[in-house]
Symmetry: C2
Subunit: 249 residues, 2 copies
């Protein structure tokens, strides 16, 4: 897995894009073997994998038993995920995996478009040949995932690509919002999983974005991103409806 821990407590940014003016730390801080973070990651994984389905209850007592810990760290981990919108707490009833509706999904994509388009200007201003190379490498990776049929990883790396783009913008705060957002969206996408658009085609569709970035053409970059994201939203919404409609009837 290439993205960060996605629990909102990001310890180190992706090292592939030297976007921030940080002096490139030689050593990443040892991940403090934080029980809470590990539990949060486990639950996140379970949601992303679809082992925990939307609306399903996440009983802290049961989770603690299975993980072999006490309930205290489990509760804290769930609160962490709650603030990210992945689970919601109903007082005296427990935690439940957040079940999104189409409206929320659309809103999330709208927010995503907002962030990415805004960052485009800064990205163009700060882009370097190395960054472009890294982005192209990421697309190559996407292709590989497509060929190997690893759709789950494909989604992950797709988001990683967009994250790199955002990182180029240099706004760490925006990056944090995107991380939260992508965790949610990935969880939503996990629902439909296999029946995804042709992955190779998706990989392809990122190339015009890189081209526009390399040409330092803000308007074109914005246009390409806008179209790309609109497509992604379209696909996601359609898949969402397909996945939920049969259950509803």
């Amino acid at each position: 897995m290439d993205s960060d821990s996605t629990t909102g407590r990001t310890f180190a940014a992706s090292p592939r894009v030297a976007a921030d003016p940080v002096p490139a730390p030689l050593f990443a801080a040892l991940e403090p073997k934080d029980l809470v973070s590990r539990i949060a990651d486990q639950v996140l994984q379970a949601i992303s994998d679809g082992r925990l389905r939307p609306g399903e209850k996440v009983a802290e007592a049961r989770l603690a038993r299975e993980l072999g810990t006490s309930r205290a760290p489990v509760r804290e981990a769930l609160r962490l995920l709650e603030s990210q919108g992945l689970v919601i707490a109903q007082p005296r009833r427990g935690f439940f995996v957040h079940a999104h509706d189409a409206t929320e999904l659309a809103a999330a994509y709208d927010l995503r478009e907002c962030l990415e388009l805004h960052s485009a200007a800064a990205a163009v201003a700060r882009v370097t040949p190395e960054a472009v190379a890294a982005l192209r490498a990421q697309i190559a990776l996407l292709h590989r995932m497509a060929l190997e049929g690893r759709s789950q990883d494909h989604v992950v790396e797709d988001f990683a690509f967009h994250r790199m783009l955002l990182a180029l913008g240099g706004n760490a705060r925006i990056l944090r919002v995107f991380d939260q957002l992508s965790a949610e969206l990935r969880a939503g996408i996990a629902l439909v999983g296999k029946m995804y658009q042709d992955p190779a085609e998706i990989a392809e569709s990122h190339l015009p974005i890189i081209d526009a970035l390399e040409a330092r053409d803000v308007a074109r970059l914005r246009a390409e991103l806008s179209e790309h994201l609109r497509d992604a939203r379209e696909v996601a919404l359609r898949l969402y409806r397909d996945a939920t409609a049969p259950d509803g009837l």
Copy 2:
């Protein structure tokens, strides 16, 4: 206090702007007397008031003693605030009030501009005479705060105005990000507190925004917002530097 609980667990949106297509609930859900939320609000208040200064340690044991509760709910509340970036947990060391630097402050304002400009288009499309009236009423409130010299409340209501504007956009997800963001910014602003720009002038400066909105002129609204926010950022950054420089030397 007019804004919501700002702990990220928003139970009801501001009722003054009928932006969402929600059927206007007659009764707000009774606030579940959630110990965790109340503790989080207390700490948030303390940070906003400046009783807890940036960088200061927030000892959960001490907090629990003073609040008369056990440490468990205090820890959960602090985790909640951690995920909002208001405090940071250092493993085995405890929680500390997040001390922003100028870069982060600028990034936060950048994100804010991103959200508000993006929502402008939707706001224009969905604006109603009632919404405009509510916004004008809010500005009147701002004026009153200015006259009465209640600068703390002035800041709160200023954010409330912008929140109303965003609510008009109809994207609940964006609203959530803004709520987090404004909690952070308010905490930062609380630092400087009294020496704020002329409050009456600030209240005045919102009027062109409403005019552009009423005229349903997206471009003008964007321009006005952009200028307004750039000013706000300028002031905030200058105040920040003034407030921190003397301490540094």
